[in-house]
Symmetry: C2
Subunit: 160 residues, 2 copies
């Protein structure tokens, strides 16, 4: 169990990082391939991680919980000097941006909830009158992958 240098081990194996960070070994490979983390190799070509990888993985998981896609997380992390810990300042920048994103997502969902509440007793889903059918609010303005509802040229509400 105990390795050569137990006292102040500098580098971690992939298995150790997996255990300590709570993600699988395969996931660490995957993250490395995507450029979210980096490793060095020992003489036998095995990955050795510096401790900062634990913090990076922690940050990745938090960001993922907010709904940030991996690619964007990668970009945010890429400003960190590799092999170094994210310092207080970096963390603040990232987390503040993520909070903005999260706030927006919450606002979108809250709008939707309110509209849904209003419409529960109605159920008309009218193309022209129902707020649920007409998301030209901040959703339409911001939605990363939002589909705009095409103008329903011919459609009268009678068609519902």
């Amino acid at each position: 169990m105990s390795l050569k240098c137990d006292a102040k081990k500098v580098m971690l194996s992939v298995g150790e990082v997996a255990k300590r960070s709570g993600v699988s070994v395969a996931t660490l490979h995957f993250y490395e391939q995507k450029g979210l983390i980096q490793s060095q190799r020992n003489a036998g070509n095995q990955r050795r991680y510096s401790r900062d990888v634990l913090r990076r993985v922690a940050i990745i998981k938090v960001a993922q919980r907010t709904g940030i896609p991996l690619e964007q997380i990668g970009k945010a992390l890429s400003v960190l000097p590799p092999g170094q810990n994210a310092d207080q300042q970096h963390w603040q920048q990232m987390s503040e941006q993520w909070k903005v994103d999260l706030d927006l997502r919450i606002a979108q969902l809250t709008d939707l909830r309110d509209q849904l509440s209003m419409c529960i007793g109605c159920g008309c889903l009218s193309m022209t009158h129902c707020p649920l059918r007409n998301p030209q609010d901040r959703l339409a303005a911001h939605g990363a992958g939002a589909h705009f509802y095409p103008v329903a040229d011919e459609l009268t509400d009678s068609s519902l």
Copy 2:
């Protein structure tokens, strides 16, 4: 442009449904294949939809915005008699359930936001102390695909 029976056309072609509902023809095929909508065929094997499909698609899109997966939407819709419009009661049942789901998701994200806010100035991400790292709240209790963070047996906070 005008078809045979312009006045009170009973059935709609797939192209018409696509135009009016704002989804692509391929998506309608896909939904049909997944059992979310149904069609009849004319003599030449082309799909003919009754008008209620427009309402179904509208419902699908609203539900998707709340984050409900298609399969679950399909189950909710499957209680509707095919070829008939969702009545007021069905709509209410569905939308109320979806509002519950949505409320939960909003609550999860709000918790996360609050934790993030607290942690922006801290940045410790401590495995044992940081609330961001310890989501044993309703997230852990409810999360459909939530990964539990394994107990970090060996991990002391110094390892971050």
